[in-house]
Each structure stands twice: as structure tokens, then as C-alpha cells.
């Protein structure tokens, strides 16, 4: 069970949170201009890295805020947490 440091509430138990998949995938501003392949790239393709991964998390049973997490999926070490819109820390 992770201990997650919500950037708005502080350290809370993992059961208060929901994982939201890979981070920094921006929704295309003009979806209608995209080819099927380009749209599929946004819609379906995820990296699913074994190692350091950038993820979105939601404090669903707390402040309901979304934020980003850098997590090593091989050992579940949380390396960084930062707010939506903030630049990811350099590795």
C-alpha cells in the first residue's frame, strides 16, 4: 500500500487514490484534423514502461484533485509528485 503525498492534502494512504494512467498525453486541440492513425495514437497507445513512468493520479476520496506522479514501476518507488500543469522533473 503506497503512501502518497497529495500535493494539496499531504501524505495519505493509497486507498484514497485512483490511478489514471500515463501522464502528459495531451488531448489534441483539433481532433477532426487528425488521421485515424494519429487519433489512434492518442486514444490507444500507452508506453507501459517497466521502470520510471510518468503517471496521473487522482485523490478521489479526498480533495478530488488530479496530479502527476513519477513512479518506478519495477519497485513502486515514488520518485516525485507534482501538480497538473507543472513541468515534470528532469530525470
Amino acid at each position: 500500500m503506497f503512501l502518497i503525498n497529495c500535493p494539496y492534502c499531504g501524505e495519505r494512504d493509497q486507498q484514497e487514490f485512483k490511478a489514471g494512467g500515463e501522464a502528459h498525453i495531451e488531448r489534441p486541440k483539433q481532433p477532426t484534423e487528425l488521421s485515424d492513425d494519429e487519433w489512434a495514437e492518442y486514444l490507444f497507445m500507452r508506453k507501459n514502461i517497466k521502470g520510471v513512468q510518468f503517471e496521473r493520479w487522482n485523490h478521489a476520496h479526498g480533495c478530488r484533485k488530479w496530479f502527476n506522479m513519477v513512479r518506478d514501476t519495477s519497485n513502486d518507488e515514488i520518485k516525485a509528485i507534482y501538480k497538473m500543469g507543472e513541468k515534470p522533473p528532469s530525470q
Binding site: 503512501l3 488531448r27 477532426t32 487519433w39 489512434a40 488530479w66
Partner: protein, 1001 residues
């Protein structure tokens, strides 16, 4: 008369408090402070159980939670009975009953013992190999296997006890209260760390508390005396909480640990009542100090499992701590010095020690000299090659070991004895350490796995960290504490330690016998009856991975999880396969370290607290009026209201007719309600719904369909514009939380520029849906001042009004196709509103209806239910709802996906109506639909999603999804069932009132 083997009074045993208990039906006596094991040993009872596979007689082997043999059924036949309890962990109390397991008719005479003589036919993998053929016989095999397998008996009646959960936060958690744990906890607490010390036994001090080796001194005192003083001082330390009888079961990442606190298991039945039996502590610690100690290893030799063969350290504990002699003619068998300490301990109490068999060539430590001076015979370089005694050890045979340790030579010497203490060295208890995700390293010299790479804030101190001698323990503990607590000085700085301990050890994983391995029984896993022979067989058959060998031979798989024999199994594999043990790795230690009861895991979440449920404000009325309920998400919803013994079908038919003919009322409080405010609220709705919202006038309602980004229908509901920048959205009952989550996601991450605020108000409003041609008259009676004319209050519009003093929001919207109103009031007035409607509607025979009738009525109108008629693969186009998808809007969630080649296929499954040839034939929901009956394999075109007998149309109706269904209007299809094929015709999904005339009726 049974023998009494008490040798001296012990301060841990209260001889003034005599306790009687029963074991296998016979009454025995012990004292307060005894465990079941120590009390039985004091009565000279060694035989306590039978082994799992061969039903060999087995005795008490250890004095702790690593016990593989002495597992008993406690309080059999009562509602508090518990199987697989280790006799070494049961504290006795007046009235305790226990019995042996895995034996029939009794532990003394067990018919299954025949398996022992048939053992050549039960090699590793016996079951896998034998019961494979012929496959059809498996059912017969299974019957017998299930009857012969299994250890204890589960309780069959309701557990009378209360269990509890508690969350604990601390700066430092210390696991284990031996010398290291106590000193760690003391120093942490003294340095202002909020400290929790947990110990699985009822006494603090570990093995040091009875350590009386005269050659070891701490501050010029015997270690036991010194430690007692330290424990005494703990009482005065602030910031320190101590929990005894508390066993850490699991160590998860981020220093999250689960521990079981045992509160009443040691009490008499009369004192257990109305108390919490066990409590699960959910501990989150900033730092964890593991002081879990080490487990003594047995030695693996022929017939090493007889009752009377015990760990040397256990014999010492029974003698020193419990004041019990385990035998009257004792022999020790060792590969290191620790057996000599046990021997001296017995000798000092006047207990006879016949001999020590040592596989080493010699040792020169003071304790060895002392043994020699005591006149105890030592056989150097000897090994035990066999033992005798079926239900109790009566002799051993020894022979001289060859120099390489691989064989024995010379003549056999037989020594008569009734108790044998084996000492094979020590294995650090690293189970919890590895559970935390941290990694071990094998020390080839010491032949132990040691903590290596920590993944969380933790340290391992004392013998679980590889320090076995008191001076090493103190020195390394001191340094580790300074580093981890970031402090400069500790109580340990000034401690003076004198010791005489030698680490000399000769390691032979599998000791040789004069007989070949095939003729001997050297047990590696006692509980599962896995021998060295089984392990070698597995290797010969090609198993290489330690995890595979474990599963094939069942080594390490019992309730003890192989705490004793795992290292030997690894050693034998490494020796046989010619690899280094470090390269072999170890099997995974999984939680729980010691078994947990289901009660502890579940805690208070039993009975009606098992799962959360939600009730509407009108729930009491539904209960009083005998509604049947169904679960929708977490909600309890009224399903139908049977009267005079009606079946569900009869009730639903009556309710459906009444709603269309006069008036019906539905509790719609469970629908999700989201309050949306902000200057960009309209723009936000434009983006999340498929249709356009900007032009919706204030006071008007609109139905909306919400898609996922993949174009599939996600949710639907009516949204009302309450003000310029204020909307109230309704969602499906089950989808409410997810819809809110999804909307928040888009707002916070994709469109943070939008000025929109979302609030869930589902629980704040109660909703009564009034429907039918007389609904208007009923509402008029409740709110006489409100103008209900179609001009002032048309379909799809909203009014704010008052019922008496109660503020209410009324939407004229309809899910049934009838003229209807949804009346929302503050939740606390919900039941009041409902009763007012019932009273006003009495003259119109207002009929409460439940979810089943609601589903039927909407199906007559062809309205979909998201999640019933859709399943996450349906686009609005598939649902023939093209009308709701705006062509003009530039973008909305899922729009682009509606133009993907896959979603534009003509042969997708599409929603259609189905009519049966026989109007009385009601299709089964989920039934498959085909067009050809004589195909093989038959091609499935789709399935029935909703199906009812419509009382208003007097025929069966159904909704279905059918591949290419849109273009199949009027086509005849088939629904093949088990015994018949039902002929159906594809129809318009709107079966009733196609022109929507009833909305304004």
C-alpha cells in the same frame, strides 16, 4: 500416573496457579504461564500429531511460531474451535481443550499410518503422476483425495467473537522484543521518536531473558539479569508503546505493516465474552526496526522426525523458561557450540545428559571445556545414521563421519535416549524483511541469507541481521541506531560485554547414513513430509527453479511455510545441482508470516456491515409497504411492491398498467445529481455531451448522451438549466461517481481554462417521479398555486416552487413516455413528499412502482438503459440515436472516434426492437440471435438486451443488438434456446405511442 517433569521453579511459571486442561480427551495439569506445549512436555507427552502424508507420529519440535509438527485443533466441537494452531503458541487456561489433527481414529493408533509403510509408492509428485489417467476418473480420485487431505476442521457455526481494526501511526516500529528490539525501542523512544514495540509472545526479552551462560556477561551481570533491569526501565519511558501477544503478519511497501494483536485467546471462556478477541493493527511507520531474531536449524539425517527429537534451543527454553525437562535421558546432536549451552543448562538443573554428538572435529571454547568437565561424553566427527522408537524416541545409532562428510565409516554405536536436541546453526528470520520488497544476499561463509538492499526506511538488527554473538549484536546495533535515528549517543555506548562464544561450525546439509538415500527418511519439511530423497528426485526429473521444486515436492508449503527446513532444501539442491546457493535464490516469503484468522482480516465488516449500502430518504416507506429491493450499485432500490402474495411478474404487470392508465410514483432519489456552476458551464456541457447546449433556455431541460473518448456511450441523463451559469445534471444511478470523476478529470487536466465548478448533490435531494395521465391533477392538489398548463409548464421544462414551506424543484420530464413530473426536495423532506403524493393520489389509485416496472415502461418506449442495452461497445449511431449527435459542434468528447473506420462500419451491432411470433413468448435477456439455423458453426448476430411482457400492448417486446440490424426492419430471425427455436421479427424499438402523444395527455 503421568510423570511430572518439572525441574525447578521458574519465575515465568506461577506454580500457585494450577490449571487443568484436556488434550485428546484426557485431563492434564499445568501452571499459569505454560504454553500447551510446555504443559504437555511437563506431563511427558511428546506425541501430539501425525504428519500430513505418511501419518508418522510427530512430537513437539520447537518452542515458537516456527513449529511444524505440534499443530492442534483448539476447543474442538465448540463455536470457538480453531484448526492448525501451534501448541507452542497456545497459552493454557482453565477449561482449554485441544486435540490432535490428521489422525483417525486417534493419534495413538492412526490407520493412515499405513502410508508410512507404503511410502516408497508416494514419491514427490505422486498425485500429479498418478491421478492423471484416465482423465475421466478424476472425479472419483478427487473424492478420496479430498477426504484424506486437509489438517484441522473449520468451525461450522457462527464465530461468537468480536474482531477489530485499528490504524496506528508511529515514528519507529520495532518488531520483536529480544535484546536488540528492547534496546532499539528504548533508545528510539528516549530520543523523542514515537515508538511502538511489538512482540509475538506474552513476555519481553526473547532468548536473552533466560540466557545464563556463565561465560557471557553484560556490565558484569548475567545477560538475563541485565536485560530484566532494562525491561524494568521501559515502563518509565515516554513515547513508547509496547504490545505483547502481537504478531506482525505482513510487511508491505512504504512501511505499511499488518499485525495481529491477540487479546483474549489466553483467557478462560467466561472472560472472553463481549471482548475484542483479536485486533488487526494497520501500522504506518516512518522507520521500521526489524529485530525478529533467528530460528534454529535442525539437522537432516535418517529418521530425524520422531517424537522426542527437538531443536536444542527449544530444550533449553523449556528447561530455563518453563522449568520443564523434555526428557530424562538427553542427547544432543550439533554442528556448532549452541548445543553445549543447552547441555549445560540441563546439567545445572540436574537433568541427565548422556552425550553430545558433534559433526565437527573439535571446539576449544570454554563452554565445551565445561561440558567435558561435567563428564558428558562428546563424540567428535560423528553423525547420527538412524533413530528408533515409533511413538517416542528410544535410541540413536551413530557412526564416524568421513573427512569429506559425504559418508560414514567404522562401527555403529547405539545410544539409548528419550530426547534428542538438534542444533544445526541459526537462520536469520528475514521473512518480514523480504516481504517489504527488500533484497537478500547469500553469505557463502556463514551459509545464511542476509539483508542487503533496503527498499524502505528500515534496518535489521540483532540475529535477523546476521549478528549472533552478544558483543557483535550490541556493537552493530549501536551503530545502526545512530545512523538510522540520526543521533550521536545511545545507552549502548557504555555497555561492557564479555563473551565466550565461538562461531565455528561445520555445515553439511544432508548428513550421510550407512544406508543409501533410497532406504532412509531424512525429513526436510516435517509438516509436508518432504524428504531429501523427494528433492533429489525432483532434480533428476529436470526441475531446476527453486520455486518449481517447492511446488513439486511441497517443501515449505505447510502452515509453517517451511520455517525450519527451507535452507536445507536450498542447500541440497545447490549441492546436487552443483551450483552456489547464492545463485539459486530463495523462494518468496509471502504474508502472512503466521496465519491470521478470517475474523481478524474482516474485523467489524460482518453481517450488515459486510458491504456498504445506501438508502434513499423514502426507504422506510418502501420497507413498511413490503417492497422487494434490488441492489443498484451501492443503493437499495425498491424493485416492486407485491400485494396479496403477488409474484414479481404479477406485481410488475399491475404497476405498469396503473402508471399508464392513471398514476404511478417512483423513488428516483438514487439518480446521480451534479450541480454545475460557472461562467463557462454551457461551454463545458457542449464539450461533454454529444448535443448542443448553448441555446438551452433558462428553466428548460434537455436529455444528453455522454461518450467516452473512444466514441462509446458512457452515460446519459437530463440536465436542467437553472440559471445563466447554473445547471443541474442527472446521471445514471450506477454511473454517478464515475461521471463526476470523469468530468473533474477533463476540467482539471484538459480544460483548466474553463470557469466551472462541480458538486455532487446526489445525497442532498430526494426525488419522487410522478407519472401517468393523472399526475398533473395530483401535483395540482399538492401545489395549488402552480400553473401547470402546457403553456406555462411544458414538457422538458423546470419550475421552482414550494410544497407548504418546503422548497422544491420540479422537472416535467419523462422516462416512461407518460405525462410526468420529477419533484426534488431537500433529502430530509423526502419521505414527507412521498407521503403527500400518496395521499393526494389516493383518489386516482396512485400506484408506487419499482425499478422493474420503470424498466418495462421505458422499454415500451424504446428508451435505452446505459449498461443494459449498451455495454461499452455501442456508439450513439449504433443505438440509432443519430439525432442526438450534433453535426455542427466542432468537438465534444468522443466525436472524432465516431468517424473512425471501425465505428463507421455498416455491420456493427445496432439496437433494434424484436417481436416474437408468439406474442406470449418472452425472450430471455442475453439470448443469442441468429439468421440461419442450419449453419455450423452457427453465426451469432447479436443478443437480446431487454425483454418484457408488455401489459399495455398485451404482447412480448424486446430490445436487442443485432449486427447490421438497422437495415433488417421486418426481417425474420431466430433465437435458439436449449429446447426450441423462437421465431422473431426485427421491429422499430419504439413499441408504444410512437408519436409521443401521451406526454401531453
Amino acid at each position: 500416573m503421568t510423570k511430572n517433569l518439572r525441574v525447578k521453579s521458574s519465575e515465568y511459571i506461577d506454580e500457585t496457579n494450577r490449571i487443568s486442561f484436556k488434550f485428546n480427551g484426557k485431563t492434564y495439569h499445568g501452571f499459569k504461564g505454560d504454553t500447551l506445549a510446555s504443559a504437555l512436555l511437563a506431563n511427558d507427552v511428546h506425541l501430539v500429531g501425525r504428519s500430513f502424508k505418511y501419518h508418522r507420529p510427530r512430537g513437539i519440535m520447537t518452542s515458537g511460531s516456527e513449529e511444524p509438527n505440534a499443530i492442534v485443533q483448539v476447543n474442538p466441537g465448540t463455536n470457538r474451535t480453531e484448526p492448525n494452531v501451534r501448541a507452542t503458541e497456545v497459552e493454557i487456561y482453565e477449561g482449554l481443550e485441544a486435540s490432535s489433527q490428521n489422525c483417525w481414529p486417534s493419534v495413538e493408533f492412526d490407520i493412515g499410518g499405513i502410508n508410512n509403510f507404503l511410502s516408497p509408492f508416494f514419491p514427490a509428485g505422486f498425485y500429479y503422476k498418478t491421478f492423471m489417467w484416465p482423465a475421466s476418473f478424476w472425479e472419483k480420485y478427487e473424492f478420496f483425495i479430498r477426504h484424506s487431505a486437509g489438517l484441522g476442521k473449520s468451525p461450522t457455526t457462527t464465530d461468537p467473537d468480536i474482531y477489530d481494526h485499528r490504524t496506528v501511526h508511529c515514528d519507529v516500529l520495532v518488531v520483536g522484543a529480544g535484546i536488540s528490539g528492547i534496546m532499539a525501542a528504548k533508545n528510539a523512544a528516549k530520543n523523542n521518536f514515537k515508538t511502538l514495540l511489538v512482540e509475538e509472545k506474552n513476555e519481553l526479552g526473547g532468548s536473552t531473558i533466560y540466557e545464563n551462560n556463565e561465560f557471557n556477561k553484560i556490565d558484569n551481570k548475567a545477560p538475563s539479569e541485565w536485560l530484566k533491569k532494562e525491561i524494568e526501565e521501559l515502563k518509565n519511558i515516554k513515547n513508547l508503546e509496547i504490545k505483547t501477544r502481537t504478531s506482525v503478519a505482513a510487511y508491505h511497501q512504504y512501511n505499511y505493516l499488518l499485525a495481529r494483536e491477540n487479546l483474549t485467546d489466553h483467557l478462560e471462556a467466561k472472560d472472553k465474552t463481549n471482548k475484542i478477541r483479536q485486533r488487526l493493527l494497520k501500522i504506518r511507520a516512518k522507520k521500521v526496526i526489524l529485530a525478529t531474531g533467528a530460528l534454529e536449524r535442525p539437522l537432516i539425517f535418517n529418521n530425524n522426525d520422531r517424537p522426542g527429537i527437538m531443536l536444542s534451543s527449544a530444550i533449553k527454553k523449556y528447561s530455563e523458561f518453563y522449568g520443564v525437562a523434555c526428557g530424562s535421558k538427553n542427547v544432543f546432536f550439533t554442528n556448532n557450540d549452541s548445543a553445549y549451552e543447552s547441555a549445560i543448562s540441563l546439567y545445572n538443573k540436574g537433568i541427565n545428559v548422556e552425550a553430545i554428538i558433534d559433526i565437527r572435529e573439535q571446539s576449544e571454547s570454554k563452554i565445551v571445556k565445561k561440558v567435558k568437565e561435567a563428564g558428558i561424553k562428546i563424540y567428535w566427527s560423528h553423525s547420527i545414521v538412524d533413530t528408533t522408537g515409533y511413538k517416542r524416541l528410544n535410541s540413536i545409532s551413530i557412526m564416524k563421519l568421513s573427512n569429506d562428510g559425504a559418508s560414514v565409516t567404522g562401527s555403529k554405536i547405539s545410544i539409548s535416549c528419550d530426547c534428542l536436541g538438534v542444533a544445526g546453526g541459526w537462520t536469520p528470520a528475514v521473512h518480514l524483511y523480504t516481504q517489504s520488497g527488500s533484497k537478500l544476499k547469500f553469505d557463502e561463509e556463514k551459509k545464511i541469507f542476509l539483508p542487503n538492499q533496503n527498499t524502505s526506511e528500515q534496518i535489521s538488527v540483532g540475529s535477523c541481521g546476521g549478528d549472533f554473538k552478544i558483543d557483535e549484536i550490541i556493537k552493530n546495533l549501536n551503530q545502526k541506531l545512530k545512523d538510522t535515528l540520526n543521533i550521536n549517543e545511545t545507552d549502548l555506548d557504555s555497555i561492557k560485554v564479555e563473551i565466550d562464544q565461538e562461531n565455528s561450525k561445520r555445515n553439511i546439509w544432508l548428513l550421510p547414513s550407512d544406508k543409501p538415500l533410497g532406504k532412509t527418511k531424512p525429513f526436510v519439511d516435517y509438516q509436508n513430509d518432504a524428504t531429501a530423497k523427494d528433492i533429489k528426485l525432483a532434480l533428476r526429473e529436470g526441475f531446476r527453479s527453486i520455486e518449481h521444486v517447492k511446488r513439486y515436492t511441497t517443501t515449505g508449503m505447510g502452515t509453517d511455510q517451511g520455517k525450519l527446513g527451507n535452507m536445507h532444501a536450498l542447500g541440497i539442491i545447490a549441492d546436487t545441482a552443483g551450483v552456489k546457493m547464492g545463485e539459486l535464490g530463495t523462494t518468496t516469503f509471502r504474508p502472512p508470516y503466521t496465519p491470521l484468522t478470517f475474523g481478524t482480516i474482516v474485523g467489524r465488516n460482518v453481517g450488515k456491515f459486510f458491504d456498504i449500502f445506501r438508502k434513499t430518504p423514502m426507504n422506510d416507506w418502501h420497507v413498511e409497504n413490503k417492497a422487494e429491493f434490488e441492489n443498484v450499485g451501492q443503493w437499495k432500490r425498491a424493485w416492486y411492491y407485491p400485494i396479496n402474495g403477488e409474484t414479481m411478474h404479477q406485481a410488475v404487470q399491475r404497476e405498469s398498467k396503473a402508471a399508464r392508465e392513471s398514476a404511478g410514483i417512483l423513488d428516483a432519489s438514487t439518480l446521480g445529481k451534479i450541480d454545475i456552476q460557472g461562467s463557462d458551464a454551457s461551454e463545458f456541457l457542449n464539450r461533454v455531451y454529444t448535443n448542443a447546449w448553448s441555446k438551452l433556455a433558462i428553466g428548460k431541460c434537455r436529455y444528453g448522451l455522454m461518450l467516452n473518448e473512444d466514441g462509446m456511450v458512457y452515460d446519459d441523463g437530463v440536465t436542467t438549466r437553472l440559471g445563466e451559469n447554473h445547471y443541474i445534471m442527472t446521471t445514471t444511478t450506477g454511473g454517478a461517481a464515475n461521471v463526476l470523476g470523469k468530468l473533474e478529470d477533463y476540467l482539471q487536466t484538459e480544460w483548466p481554462e474553463l470557469d466551472v465548478y462541480l458538486t455532487s448533490v446526489t445525497d442532498h435531494y430526494a426525488t419522487a417521479s410522478l407519472c401517468g395521465p393523472n399526475s398533473k391533477k395530483i401535483l395540482k392538489k399538492i401545489i395549488p398555486d402552480l400553473d401547470l398548463s402546457d403553456e406555462n409548464f411544458p414538457h422538458m421544462s423546470f419550475k421552482e416552487s414550494k410544497i407548504g414551506n418546503i422548497q422544491c424543484r420540479i422537472m416535467r420530464i419523462s422516462f416512461t413516455g407518460e405525462h410526468s413530473y420529477e419533484i426534488n426536495v431537500q433529502a430530509s423532506y423526502g419521505k414527507d413528499l412521498w407521503e403527500k403524493c400518496m395521499e393526494a393520489g389516493q383518489e386516482f389509485n396512485i400506484t408506487p412502482y419499482g425499478t422493474e416496472t420503470m424498466h418495462l415502461l421505458r422499454a415500451e418506449k424504446g428508451f435505452i438503459i446505459v449498461g443494459q442495452d449498451t455495454d461499452g461497445t455501442m456508439t450513439p449511431i449504433d443505438l440509432q440515436m443519430d439525432w442526438i449527435v450534433s453535426k455542427k459542434k466542432y468537438d465534444f468528447i468522443g466525436k472524432r472516434s465516431l468517424y473512425r473506420s471501425d465505428t463507421m462500419r455498416e455491420d456493427r451491432k445496432q439496437l433494434v426492437g424484436l417481436l416474437t411470433e408468439d406474442p406470449n413468448e418472452v425472450l430471455e435477456e442475453g439470448a443469442q440471435i441468429v439468421s440461419e439455423l442450419n449453419q455450423s458453426p452457427i453465426e451469432m448476430l447479436g443478443h437480446v438486451t431487454s425483454s418484457y411482457f408488455s401489459p399495455n400492448l398485451n404482447k412480448s417486446i424486446a430490445l436487442a443488438v443485432v449486427r447490421g440490424g438497422k437495415d433488417m426492419m421486418g426481417k425474420k430471425l431466430f433465437v435458439p434456446m436449449e429446447n426450441k427455436n423462437i421465431n422473431v421479427t426485427v421491429a422499430n424499438p419504439v413499441f408504444y405511442d410512437k408519436k409521443n402523444e401521451r406526454l401531453n395527455a
